[in-house]
């Protein structure tokens, strides 16, 4: 059974600071996705990582994938309040079903 673990589960950080969210998974996969969810809203796709060493950046967020270590990271640079949300990583090893972590609830404070 594929297990996906995120840490931390809760993160409070000051504006302007940097931080990294980690996503570990238990079985081989080269397909990993990051989603953002605002309270009461659905999931918004952030990044699709489809190969070992993949790195993608959008604004203050950068995601990477190390399939050998079964690890993905989501790095936040110079956080701003608008980044406050819950971030999920999801791993696909079946070709269709996404296995989600529990999510990291991020709060950016002044």
């Amino acid at each position: 059974e594929l297990k996906v673990e995120q840490n931390p589960l809760f993160l409070s950080m000051q504006e302007g600071k940097n931080y990294t969210i980690y996503c570990n998974y238990s079985t081989t996969s080269d397909r990993l996705y990051w989603y953002r969810q605002d309270p009461g809203k659905s999931l918004e796709s952030l990044f699709v990582l489809l190969s070992n060493g993949a790195v993608k950046q959008e604004g203050r967020l950068m995601a990477s994938l190390d399939t050998k270590a079964r690890l993905s990271t989501l790095h936040i640079t110079a956080a701003v309040h608008d980044l406050s949300a819950t971030y999920f990583c999801a791993v696909d090893n079946s070709g269709y079903a996404l296995n989600f972590g529990k999510g990291t609830s991020l709060l950016v404070t002044p």
């Binding site: 996705y33 989603y35 809203k41 659905s42 999920f88 269709y96 989600f100 972590g101 999510g103």
Partner: protein, 115 residues
């Protein structure tokens, strides 16, 4: 363009009742997925359709749950004899013809409350 839509947005029902949840995928997307998200958790896979057929329904929790997609577009998730434990947000997603390579686009969800 229009995204994935789901109706109703909220559904409150009594234990033992039957409910139907509807999903309208993005036009042209052949792959459709249902997930269930409980409070404080990530979504859990329920079922995957490729066209009209259910390619994998292994995530459905028991035989009270059933889903159809008769014309390869709109899908309906049906829950019989609802239980309080069925309360959750039911999310639908769709993707173009290459599941596993294309991202899945999620709808706003239906929040189901079983009293």
């Amino acid at each position: 363009g229009a995204g994935v839509s789901q109706t109703p947005s909220n559904k409150v029902t009594e234990k033992g009742k039957y409910v139907e949840l509807r999903c309208d995928p993005i036009s042209g997307h052949t792959a459709l997925y249902w997930y269930r998200q409980s409070l404080g958790q990530g979504p859990e896979f329920l079922i995957y359709f490729q066209g009209t057929g259910a390619a994998d329904d292994s995530g459905l929790p028991n035989d009270r749950f059933f889903a159809v997609r008769p014309e390869g577009s709109v899908s309906t998730l049906k829950i019989q004899r609802t239980e309080r434990g069925d309360s959750a947000v039911y999310l639908c997603a769709s993707s173009p013809t290459r599941p596993g390579r294309d991202e899945q686009f999620f709808g706003p969800g239906t929040r189901l409350t079983v009293l």
